[in-house]
């Protein structure tokens, strides 16, 4: 075929909008709660009003007799334990409740109103027990033990180390060098404690899930999960159903931030439908239960001791992290591991003793939250770095630049850092200095009652996926030559599917308009993707997708070679066309090739093009007990952030003026979308650090389980945002990209803390930093 050469193709650099943008802007995008059907029953959950209590009895007789009620479930119905690391959590409490908000009973009724009325008629007789609300309380002698059966629980993985007879869920110890000797030679030693309360993900979409079972035992689940394949496998494990008989579908997810990675409501939905003969049942939570009952962000108590030379070169660190993981383990042991393996922050410290411990308390259980613990320990480490700078009489930027981890250094888990696996933190700091006008001064008196101050913080994050995490991609083609992308990656706001589609368009050298992505995920149709978590999807699925693209391209080349009467090596691909290298005007459009080629004489050539690619992580190893030596992650992402505030020194109120980020993202992929994602994280970090916390009353019940009392940042409170980038390729990743989607949050709480500590000239070592907290830090009391 001879024709005109037209160039229409998308590159990774293009600032394209989200591929699903119009669906969302018009309200057509369907989320789990939008997919109600008239035949579905509604399940509501009764929750514990006590932080810790024995359940003496549950009387459901009156409730069961109420109009519309189809079934009532309690912990006796399915006496199972669930958990992805430690099987310690009954989906419905049995004999015991361990946090206020824990699910105790489920009512299934014809509609929500009837279910609600019946809930109120259930009588539960509780015998309250002593409770522990912080790691210190839970580790103290004589503390109530939450799980007497800890020694008998089944461990779903090998690298968790519960300590029966205590509230210790798991512990990871890092030992590098000789801290005792190193500290004895340090000219400067700084020691502080830090406290971070639990808080919530607060995705705008409240969690919901629906399940049904057909006559032949097929289980269908629709849910707002980040991990449909884990839902499938957990239901299979918990209820002894063949995995393939469980089909999990996930439409658009309305925000998740880690909070929709654990399997929670899906288990209740399965139990409920099973109890009513397989009829479809939807579990509906009000916002209050979504906050108090469903898993939240961890709390943290930390102790950091840093030793340095008098010119600020770090020599040694002793660090203790006690994670408040709440009443059940969920993924907290792995967050603990991540904190141990990265808990120094991005600094070169040759002598390290770091103990990270996850502790059961009578709080709502914690799960992954944007940052996977890094946003929490970095607050502590980066506050400590500022305190050390102050002790040494050094500039906070200078001390960070001097100690920044560089290629050739050993990480806390003794992995040798390279430019590829680490990135370039000094360059991020250099760019941050320019972007923040650091040389203006840290603290400036504006007038009689106003000061302006800046705080900086470095960030790094390495994920710790299971060493056998997998992903896959299947490409099929349409008659117009456009491609259909099938993967297991969830669209929940993080934009992975757009950037993956963009990478594919670049690779196939076609316009993004020719890339059609299956937005919802169906475990029966889409290849398994470990989970859409850890900012890892563009790497994990990206490798698989690029392999699928190579596979498809090689088939296209082979068909084109036959059609063009040349060798496959002589075929070039561009603008969704295959042409002869010697003559670009002699080409075939993809649409003539992707379903095989039919020559003018009717001869058929080739077969339909089907691209497939899979990827399993390689080369990771668990942490060695005792030293913590091991490789948990393919790579880090590094960066540096700044927050500038203006504080009223009389009433301690403050405004956040500017927030800046410089991050090494490896490759310039759609920088507009990348900037938006990073600033979203910054905004969440500012909200978290300035106002968010679950406030518990004396009985251990949260007083802030709704958006009226648990305040988020709103429009008008946002600062001016600035973002800049460094590009150090991660060599094993597509296009050299690095993970970044969570990372905007990471250094922000610390940078805000550093700015406010400078403004007030006090050490602010707790979150959230409200005006009241500042007043108290300045010596105010009631």
């Amino acid at each position: 075929m001879i024709g005109k050469v037209i160039r229409i193709k998308t590159s990774i650099a293009d600032a394209i909008p989200r591929i699903e943008a119009w669906e969302k802007a018009t309200g057509e995008a369907k989320y789990c709660g939008d997919l109600a059907t008239p035949d579905e029953l509604i399940a509501r959950v009764l929750v514990s009003p006590h932080a810790h209590a024995r359940i003496r009895s549950i009387d459901v007789r009156a409730a069961a007799a109420m109009p519309g009620v189809k079934a009532i479930l309690t912990g006796e119905d399915f006496p199972i334990l669930s958990g992805v690391l430690i099987e310690d959590r009954p989906p419905l409490a049995k004999e015991r409740v361990r946090y206020a908000g824990e699910a105790v009973a489920v009512v299934v009724a014809a509609d929500e109103a009837q279910a609600d009325l019946a809930l109120q008629a259930i009588r539960v007789d509780y015998a309250p027990l002593p409770f522990a609300l912080t790691p210190s309380q839970a580790l103290a002698a004589g503390a109530p033990i939450l799980h007497e059966g800890l020694g008998e629980y089944k461990l779903a993985v090998e690298d968790v180390y519960p300590q029966p007879g205590t509230n210790i869920v798991s512990q990871y110890n890092m030992r590098k060098g000789d801290t005792a000797a190193a500290f004895s030679q340090c000219e400067v030693v700084m020691e502080q404690r830090y406290f971070l309360p639990p808080s919530d993900h607060l995705a705008m979409e409240v969690r919901t899930a629906r399940a049904s079972i057909t006559g032949d035992g097929e289980v269908a689940v629709t849910t707002c999960s980040q991990a449909p394949h884990v839902v499938q496998e957990q239901i299979a494990t918990c209820f002894d159903v063949p995995t393939g008989k469980v089909r999990v579908t996930v439409p658009y997810v309305g925000g998740s931030f880690g909070g929709k990675a654990p399997v929670t409501l899906e288990l209740l939905a399965y139990m409920a439908t099973k109890k009513v003969g397989g009829r479809p049942v939807r579990v509906v939570l009000p916002r209050e239960q979504d906050m108090a009952s469903a898993p939240c962000r961890l709390g943290l108590e930390a102790h950091i001791k840093l030793g340095a030379s008098k010119n600020g070169v770090l020599k040694a660190a002793e660090i203790t992290y006690h994670l408040d993981c709440g009443a059940y383990a969920d993924i907290a042991p792995y967050m603990t591991m991540a904190m141990a393996a990265n808990g120094t922050g991005p600094y070169n410290i040759e002598n390290l003793a770091c103990d990270a411990v996850s502790v059961y308390t009578n709080h709502t259980y914690a799960t992954s939250f944007r940052g996977f613990g890094h946003e929490s320990y970095l607050f502590c480490v980066e506050r400590a770095m500022d305190a050390l700078a102050k002790t040494c009489g050094m500039d906070p930027w200078e001390i960070r630049f001097r100690n920044a981890i560089r290629p050739g250094c050993l990480s806390p888990s003794q992995i040798e850092c390279t430019a590829s696996n680490l990135g370039d933190l000094p360059e991020c700091l250099n760019k941050l200095k320019a972007l923040s006008h650091w040389e203006e001064g840290r603290r400036i008196r504006v007038d009689g009652r106003t000061v302006r101050a800046k705080g900086i913080a470095c960030l790094w994050k390495a994920v710790n996926p299971p060493s056998d995490a997998i992903s896959g991609a299947v490409l099929t083609f349409n008659a117009d030559g456009s491609v259909n992308v099938n993967t297991g990656v969830i669209e929940m706001g993080s934009g992975d599917k757009t950037r993956l589609a963009q990478m594919l368009a670049d690779k196939l050298r076609m316009d993004i308009g020719m890339v059609h992505v299956a937005m919802s995920v169906d475990t029966r149709a889409n290849p398994k993707h470990w989970k859409t978590v850890a900012s890892l999807s563009e790497y994990l699925n990206g490798v698989a997708l690029m392999r699928a693209a190579e596979d498809a391209l090689s088939q296209i080349r082979s068909i084109a070679a036959q059609a063009l009467h040349c060798a496959p090596e002589e075929v070039e691909i561009d603008d969704a066309k295959a042409h002869k290298r010697s003559n670009p005007k002699e080409f075939f459009h993809f649409k003539e090739l992707v379903h095989g080629y039919k020559a003018p004489d009717g001869t058929s050539v080739g077969d339909p093009v089907l691209g497939r690619g899979g990827f399993m992580l390689k080369g990771l190893s668990p942490l060695e007990p005792g030293t913590g030596r091991g490789k948990l992650a393919p790579a880090w992402t590094v960066g540096a952030q700044v927050v500038e505030i203006e504080m009223d020194i009389f009433d301690y109120t403050y405004r956040i003026l500017r927030a800046g980020t410089v991050m090494d993202i490896g490759a310039p992929i759609n920088l507009k979308a990348t900037t938006e994602m990073i600033n979203g994280g910054v905004s969440m970090g500012l909200s978290l650090a300035s106002r968010e916390a679950f406030a518990y009353d004396a009985a251990g019940v949260t007083r802030t389980p709704n958006l009226r009392t648990y305040k988020l940042l709103h429009i008008g409170q946002e600062p001016e945002y600035r973002v800049d980038f460094v590009f150090t390729p991660q060599e094993d990743a597509p296009f050299g990209l690095r993970s970044f989607t969570e990372h905007g949050i990471l250094g922000i709480p610390a940078a805000l803390g550093n700015a406010l500590s400078a403004a007030l000239d006090r050490e602010i070592n707790s979150l959230p930093i409200t005006a009241e907290a500042l007043w108290k830090a300045a010596g105010g009391n009631v």
């Binding site: 943008a21 309305g254 998740s256 938006e676 979203g680 429009i715």
Partner: protein
């Protein structure tokens, strides 16, 4: 005043059409729009008037449809995000400025912005802040929403 017991048949004017629904006195407009009319653009986010994800317009003014009873909406013109048919300049601006990520709060934000720019075509920053404080977004940094609205408002000033 009408007295309703049990379920009553009422007529709602939604997106320019007359729609008949059977409601209890306590049924929320939000639930009726979603469950009976299939208009799932308005989202439940708190059912407490705190988040704004369920915002629709009543006679051109934004209301949180979780704080309005369906029976109260009788006799009023309702406009939901579906009724904009993708034609509001706010929607194009939201797409172009990356004013959403997960998209769950978007229909609510779009409706508030659309109403504000109808009443204040060239809205200044403070007007925007006052109007848009009614809604929460957890994904974006808000600056993208502000940029989108500002772009439409600036176009309004030029007219």
């Amino acid at each position: 005043m009408r007295r309703i017991e049990g379920k009553a048949i009422i007529e709602l004017r939604v997106n320019g059409e007359a729609r008949t629904v059977a409601v209890r006195p306590s049924d929320l407009l939000l639930d009726v729009l979603r469950n009976q009319l299939g208009l799932t653009g308005a989202k439940p986010g708190c059912k407490n008037g705190d988040c704004g994800a369920c915002t629709v317009l009543m006679d051109g003014w934004p209301v949180k449809s979780c704080l309005v009873l369906a029976v109260e909406a009788e006799g009023h013109e309702l406009l939901t995000v579906e009724g904009l048919e993708g034609k509001s300049p706010v929607q194009a601006a939201f797409v172009g400025h990356g004013a959403f990520q997960c998209g769950y709060c978007t229909p609510g934000f779009v409706m508030v912005c659309h109403a504000m720019l109808t009443h204040h075509p060239g809205a200044e920053e403070l007007v925007m802040e006052e109007w848009l404080q009614s809604n929460l977004c957890r994904c974006t940094s808000y600056s993208e929403i502000r940029d989108a609205v500002r772009a439409v408002a600036n176009a309004g000033k030029r007219e």
